[in-house]
Each structure stands twice: as C-alpha cells, then as structure tokens.
C-alpha cells in the first residue's frame, strides 16, 4: 500500500505540524507539543470547557472539530492509540473557564484508562470533570449492553451537541445531560469493503475476500462483527437502516440528522448513492431529515467502507444541532 509519508514513525508529528499551520485560524497548541490543541475562540470564563480526543488516523476526527461553538480542546494520540494523560490534562487546563470541563470520547479500553487518569489529575487541581463516553456503534454489542458499545462516526453528532450546549452557557450538569441524551439517541453501523493499512506496515491490516464485506466495522481497522457476502448499495443501506430502526424509537413525524461517512477511500459518489436509499427509507416511514452530512467525517486511515449514523432529534437537540460553530471540518451558521 503506497502512501504520501516520510518516516512512518513521525507520521503523527508531521501531520500535526501541517494541521497547526493549516488551521491556525481555528486552533493552536496548548504548549510546546502539538498533542494538545486549543480552540482560538473556544474557552472563556464561565463556560463549560469541552475536551475531546482520541487516536490519530481518524482525520478530520478529532482535531477538525475544535473551534468556536464546538470543542475547546483536543488531545491527539498515536495512530489508533489513545493519547496519554498529560496532553489530556493540558487540554483540561486550557479548556477550563472555572465552570467545569466535559470530556467526551469514544468508549475504548485505552481511552477510558488515559482519560480517567487525566480526569483524576485535573480534579486534583480543582477542575471539575464530567465524562460522557460515546457508544453509538450498534454492532458492537447488544441493545441491553448499550453502555458497552464503542463510539464510532456518530460521535460527530455527540460532539456537535456537546459543543453547542457548552457554548450556550449551560451548567456542567446540563451539558453532561444533553450530551448523554445525544449519545443515547445516536446510532451508527459501518461496513468495510477493504481494510486500511498502518503507516508502519503499509499492508492491509486484514484481508476481506473478493466477494465479502465486513459488517459492523469499527474505526480502527479492527475486524467487524461478521463477515458477509457483499451486496449492492441499496441492500447494504437497507440492512443498516433496518438495524437502526429496530433500536431507534422514531415514528412518523420524528426528525433525524443523518451522517453518511466515508472511512477513507470510499468516494463521495458512493456516499450519495447510500444517502439516496437512506432518504427513501426514512421518507417511507414518515421521518424527516432535519440535516445531513455526507463525506469524510470520521475515518479509519485508508479503509474502503462507509458508515451510516442517525441522530434521533428532539426539540432540545434540534436547537443545539443548528447552533453555529466554526471549525476546520464543520461550519454551521
């Protein structure tokens, strides 16, 4: 697998050098390292600070969502690795406006351990920290074990709602509750057609047969939940939508936001074809699409595949969804 790289061991540092220069209107490093990036117009006194983060290889996640109206700071780990506690702590300090800090990140063993260590350190410094784990991946465990699910592309919605709640001056309690609600109403399912490849190995992390697909895939090149026969776009979209309908309580008249996300190598053309079917299915059920995003929002290196996320809105969430934000990867209003 060929890539535009220099030393594969420096891939994250070099990427971040590019990011810091490219997005200087939106963000800046908290200190000398680029592993903690702060929104230029983010943190302010009295506002709950929103800290997000995770491994690299998901760009524009997570750094693309730092800026006014969205996240105040992001901690950046190695490829597919949680950041360690120190940059998270730097983020918490910078994001703190003395109204508490909210950590929102995907539910992975590594992230949980590192963010918890950082939370303890921040608390020890007198910064109140609350945590919401994103758990939108329907495939990753059963409905009963909702809290055990992992966070995937749907964290886009949860971040957006959290950022809006913070920016609108809600209390730490309220921000946490709204973010939890957003997460609990977000459902994602992903399909990989080909595995991605790590900068250091440059080989596909696993093989998917000619006529196969990996269903219920995560965003770290982990295998999915099942290997299945590949189907056409409509059949894949149907399979995903059926699973999501099964979980989401949406009825005729409900409003949703839709995200059709490329895992990296799948182009926009195919995402539109998936969206077409999703829209047909929602329409048939009388569910209205309040807003949609189609593109590269949470990737897994150069994996070929796509995920569909649906946020089941209510009045609060609709307001927060439309709240303006200005970040490298998302501008609203």
């Amino acid at each position: 697998v060929k890539k535009f790289l220099n030393d594969p061991d420096h891939v994250v540092e070099e990427m971040l050098e590019g990011v810091v220069r490219a997005h200087q209107k939106h963000l800046m490093p908290a200190g000398k390292s680029n592993r903690a990036l702060i929104a230029r117009e983010g943190p302010r006194p009295g506002k709950v600070g929103l800290v997000i983060g995770g491994g690299s290889g998901h760009e524009p996640c997570f750094l693309g969502y730092v800026g006014k109206g969205l996240a105040d700071a992001v901690a950046v780990g190695n490829v597919f690795s949680s950041p360690p506690p120190m940059p998270i702590l730097h983020c918490a300090r910078a994001a703190s406006g003395d109204a508490g800090v909210l950590f929102v990140y995907g539910n992975y063993a590594g992230d949980v351990m590192n963010f918890e260590m950082a939370a303890e350190m921040a608390e020890a410094e007198g910064i109140a920290v609350r945590t919401v784990l994103t758990t939108d991946d329907v495939a990753s465990s059963s409905m009963e074990d909702r809290d055990g699910r992992r966070g995937v592309a749907g964290n886009f919605f949860t971040f957006k709602i959290a950022g809006a709640a913070c920016d609108r001056g809600h209390s730490l309690d309220a921000c946490e509750a709204l973010t939890r609600k957003a997460n609990s109403r977000t459902f994602t399912l992903g399909v990989a057609l080909e595995a991605g490849s790590m900068p250091q190995t440059r080989r596909p992390s696993f093989e998917i047969g000619e006529d196969e697909m990996e269903f219920g895939i995560g965003i770290h090149g982990e295998r999915g939940v099942s290997r299945e026969k590949i189907e056409n776009a409509d059949a894949i979209a149907d399979k995903i939508i059926d699973r999501i309908f099964h979980e989401m309580g949406a009825v005729a008249g409900s409003r949703v936001a839709v995200l059709i996300n490329s895992f990296g190598a799948t182009p926009l053309m195919e995402l539109y074809i998936l969206f077409r079917r999703v829209e047909q299915r929602l329409k048939a059920k009388g569910i209205e699409i309040e807003a949609n995003w189609i593109g590269h929002y949470c990737t897994s290196l150069d994996m070929v595949g796509a995920s569909i996320s649906i946020l089941h809105l209510d009045d609060d969430l609709t307001t927060l969804l439309h709240h303006p934000c200005d970040t490298a990867a998302l501008k609203i209003g």
Binding site: G55, P84, M86, A109, Q200, T201
Partner: protein
C-alpha cells in the same frame, strides 16, 4: 552484587526489553492485526525505545532503582498512551512504590517487582485471568516466580515458562477485555498480542537477572 548498581541493572533491563521489542515488533503487530487494531508491536516498540533513550540520558549513578522504575513509567505512558500505556505505567509505578521501602534487587526483590508490576496492571485494567489479556502471561509468571523464590537460579526460567504457557493458552480463550472483546467468538484461535509482548518482557528480564539473583 551491590546495591548502588540496581539503577544500572534496571536500565540494562529496559534496554534489553527495548531491543527485544524492536525485534518482535512485526510479530506482535501481526497478532494485533488478527484481533485488534494492528498497532501493538508499534506501540510497545515505540514505548520501550522511549524508555531506553530517556534512561540513557539520565544520571543513573544518582538514581535509585525506584526512581528508574518511576521514570520508565512516566516515559512509557507519555510515549504511547493506548491501552498498554496506563497498564504498564501503573505496573511500573506500583513496583517503584514497593522498591522505595525495600531492600536491593536480589532474588526476593526481583520476585517482589514482578508481583508488583502484575498487581498494578490488574488494578488499572480491572482484569483477571482468563480475560485473554496480558494478565494471562503476567499472573502465572508472578505465581511461578513466587513458588520458586527459594531457588534463586530458577525464578526467571520458571516465570518465563509459565508466562509463555499462559500466553499460548489465550489462543483458546474468548476475549473479555480490550479491543478484542468486541469480536466475541471471532477472537478464538488467536494469541493475545498483549500476552505475547508480556512474554517478550519476561524473557528480557530473565536475560537481565539470571546470574545476578544468586547473591
């Protein structure tokens, strides 16, 4: 051997771990490709090479063994994050704490260190044997070492043997913790990468301590 050399001894240990991990990087990554996210070899190699280079820049003569362990913990954590960062950092810190109040790194000290690392990992990850994690290597290794603590010459070979057996046994386990747990039964038939890298560490420890532990 004398007490003042314990810091150097540990530094030598981390050097050996770093070298071994660099050699096993591809193998460990292949294991992680099967049931994880293909980064385990990269992470472990990166982390221990950071530790080795940090220690090479340190004035070991003025450091205690406990301080070396603590420096390794912080350096490893800062370099890697991931799952292994907090797990090993907590293990090493735990060992460092034990050393403070302790006698030199003789056979008993080494066994105590091994147990302390294991306990730290357990506490941080809230895991147990049979979860299909690195604990399936560390726990039997620590048990075996304690059982042999009366026979200094056999501590590390027993620990390595038990650790290797434990790692091998993860092949027939369904993962209950970490990333592989998402795979359910699909994790069957594969060795846990974290258990495999624990064996790499144990072997580097054996190389470091065998012969030293007689005193």
């Amino acid at each position: 051997m004398v007490h003042g050399n314990d810091a150097r001894l540990l530094s030598r240990m981390f050097n050996k771990i770093s070298d071994a991990m660099a050699k096993e990087k591809d193998y460990l990554t292949e294991l992680d490709e099967a049931i994880g996210d293909a980064d385990h070899g990269i992470t472990m190699s990166l982390g221990f090479s950071a530790v080795a280079s940090e220690l090479s820049r340190s004035d070991l003569d003025s450091m205690t063994a406990a301080e070396v362990m603590a420096a390794a913990a912080t350096t490893f954590l800062d370099a890697v994050g991931a799952s292994t960062g907090p797990l090993y950092a907590t293990g090493f810190l735990h060992a460092s704490d034990r050393m403070n109040a302790h006698r030199p790194l003789d056979a008993a000290g080494q066994v105590a260190m091994l147990r302390a690392i294991t306990t730290g990992i357990q506490q941080r990850g809230k895991g147990m044997r049979g979860d299909k994690t690195m604990l399936d290597a560390w726990m039997p290794a620590a048990d075996a070492a304690e059982a042999r603590s009366g026979e200094p010459g056999h501590i590390w070979s027993s620990a390595c043997e038990a650790g290797a057996l434990g790692a091998k046994a993860t092949q027939s386990m369904i993962a209950l913790r970490g990333r592989a747990a998402r795979l359910g039964e699909r994790s069957l038939g594969h060795i846990d990468p974290g258990a495999a890298s624990a064996v790499v560490i144990l072997k580097a420890m054996r190389e470091t301590f065998d012969g030293t532990a007689s005193g």
